[in-house]
Symmetry: C2
Subunit: 391 residues, 2 copies
């Protein structure tokens, strides 16, 4: 049985186990970008915005060999490399590095932590969000932090890329929430972005807005949430509610074949056929994994991350309009057994791109993990990614 690990850790470990490259792993340095005052799409100003980032490879003189990787809902900038020689590899390390699909001998690869990143307790994540100190009050923002849209993620990243001297992105890519950021990038900066590779993502329609609400609902139910006012001494964070929220994400992001290991299994001492409070094996695993993940994340940030996703392409009246003027070259990567971004939805998204005259290819990512295949199963797509970059 799989041990107690959070989503982030699981993804890293699985990537290492499934796709360990022969080449030596690269050690990357986590840096902080001080974005200063930032005006959100919603009209608010955050005075001291900062996010973490990391890079690999070298920017060329023209500034046009850059690749931006955007992270998934629960991830951070560590898409590639290790933060120390013995640390875990980044979630897409199998396709990013010297000689790999996104070859850092030729490309300058950048990845940043988003605003309202959920991994607040993680020393290697640097973000600005509801757990940050509001300079006007000296106390954590909590739910008074401004609403952040997906487009705001893009705008802060744009400032970062400008500060690094990037003039053009050869590629913007990412899985899930990272794919949504990539699509938002393609709409916002069509001339700046040469190629787009959204993986396990498609439009956030009302169906997905509803599911995102279901993900977050347990946080608001937890009496410890206190309308977001749980920071500070003597207060308990809404750990149970946050764990239930992660439980939904954890199962939703996987698939039936993964769950087979738990079929007809009971945890030691548990007898759910006789005691209503007892657990089945999959329940116990989800309880443990979700609680571990709750301990390394922040509940309010989860709520803001949900909202940012719900506000995908919110500057546009609809998806077709957003894609009309967007970047031209696309490699769209669905996981056919994805239970979050259903294959039907990805197909509709590809239709919209084609009707908008884009140059679109589709490559499926396989595996037994459903949605998570797009995080841990990308190595077999190496030639497709090289092909995209060669166009």
């Amino acid at each position: 049985m799989i041990g107690r690990r959070g989503l982030l850790a699981t993804a890293g470990v699985l990537a290492a186990a499934y796709a360990m490259p022969a080449a030596a792993q690269e050690v990357v340095e986590k840096r902080v970008f001080e974005a200063g005052a930032f005006q959100t799409r919603g009209g608010a100003t955050i005075k001291n915005t900062r996010i973490g980032y990391q890079t690999m490879g070298r920017l060329n003189a023209a500034g046009d060999n850059a690749v931006l990787i955007c992270h998934f809902f629960s991830g951070n900038s560590q898409a590639f490399g290790r933060l120390s020689a013995n640390g875990p590899a980044g979630y897409w390390d199998a396709i990013i590095g010297p000689g790999k699909a996104i070859d850092t001998d030729h490309y300058f690869v950048v990845s940043a932590d988003t605003l309202v990143n959920v991994n607040v307790p993680d020393a290697n994540t640097v973000t600005t969000g509801p757990a940050s100190i509001n300079p006007d009050t000296g106390r954590p923002w909590g739910m008074s932090f401004p609403v952040i849209a997906m487009r705001d993620f893009v705008e802060v990243q744009k400032k970062l890329l400008d500060s690094l001297g990037v003039k053009r992105l050869a590629l913007v890519a990412g899985p899930s929430n990272g794919g949504l950021q990539s699509i938002e990038w393609a709409a916002a900066y069509p001339d700046f972005v040469q190629r787009v590779m959204p993986v396990i993502s498609a439009e956030i329609d009302a169906w997905m807005q509803g599911w995102l609400d279901i993900w977050e609902a347990p946080i608001r139910l937890d009496p410890n949430w206190r309308e977001g006012d749980y920071y500070g001494q003597g207060r308990e964070p809404p750990l149970r509610g946050l764990a239930e929220a992660w439980k939904i994400v954890t199962l939703h992001a996987r698939d039936r074949p993964w769950a087979r290991q738990f079929d007809r299994k009971l945890p030691e001492g548990q007898d759910p056929a006789r005691r209503i409070g007892d657990r089945f094996a999959i329940e116990k695993w989800l309880d443990d994994a979700a609680l571990a993940r709750a301990r390394t994340s922040d509940a309010n940030s989860f709520l803001y991350m949900v909202r940012a996703n719900q506000l995908f392409l919110n500057d546009y009246p609809d998806l077709s309009t957003a894609m009309q003027g967007a970047a031209r070259r696309w490699l769209v990567v669905p996981a056919p057994t994805d239970r979050v971004f259903l294959l039907e939805g990805v197909r509709e998204f590809v239709d919209v791109l084609q009707k908008a005259g884009k140059q679109v290819e589709v490559a499926e990512v396989g595996g037994t993990l459903g949605h998570l295949n797009g995080v841990v199963g990308m190595a077999p797509l190496t030639e497709r990614i090289r092909g995209l970059l060669a166009q």
Copy 2:
């Protein structure tokens, strides 16, 4: 926009709108079956078990023209007919009645409320469960009610059929949880059951056990739940938690095309791009629908209903073994866009039946509603159902 209606009401109304039969609606009488003392599969005894039921048509002298219809998770015995001349029609009224697919001019059709039925506040639902009075204490059982397995549903129904003089079932059928009961019936009484029609259902594997746990989790998070001890004066039921639970079921049981009516819509006065507490249109609809459903159901019963589902075929080591000795003739009806019982799972179930040498046909039920297609979209399958009954 769809108004405020619970699942049960929605299903009834949709059935009426989509498939109103030309024939006059039949008025049926709701009756009570006193099953007396009942021993559960878990080894407990319930002294005074009772369930509601209804019938249409006449049992023949041989007692072998009976059909049993089993209800879905949130349903009750009203699969067919109206309880009063102007009342709503049963959820499968389009296929059950005089001259319909399951023709009550020829068949004696029975449908019963399950044990631990969730519709406790509904005067037309009669059930025994955690909200019932424990005769040993004179107080509601709450979470001291014995665990009920899917097989217990079958055993109480068997007592009811015996009391009615039924010697053989020409067909046992039902949607979702009703399909699971049908499969359990086929395994438990292979000689008593001639034909089986499970609709939008398949095995409850660990994947589904996990999802069922996610459905119920908000109830346990609600501080008003109090470990199930919320009955009686001065206590509030866990309405918020129960509503969140129904919200998950409500969205899970639908599909993307249904949600399109909410795309890019905002409820009046709501501005979720600027206010973190504000709602999108689909969230508002789900909030309202789920709260209405919570007011007409019981939280503890929801927990027990989940457990009964998780204990599907729990008397057998695995599905293949359970199906080896099961009834022979099957019509399996998946909804291809079902997001609860995924099409892949139904296909695996059909494979198991075929390997066990059963005579199996498959008929898909279409529509825009995903899982709910199997409740409201059955009329087009009329000839397939007639064909099954003619075999």
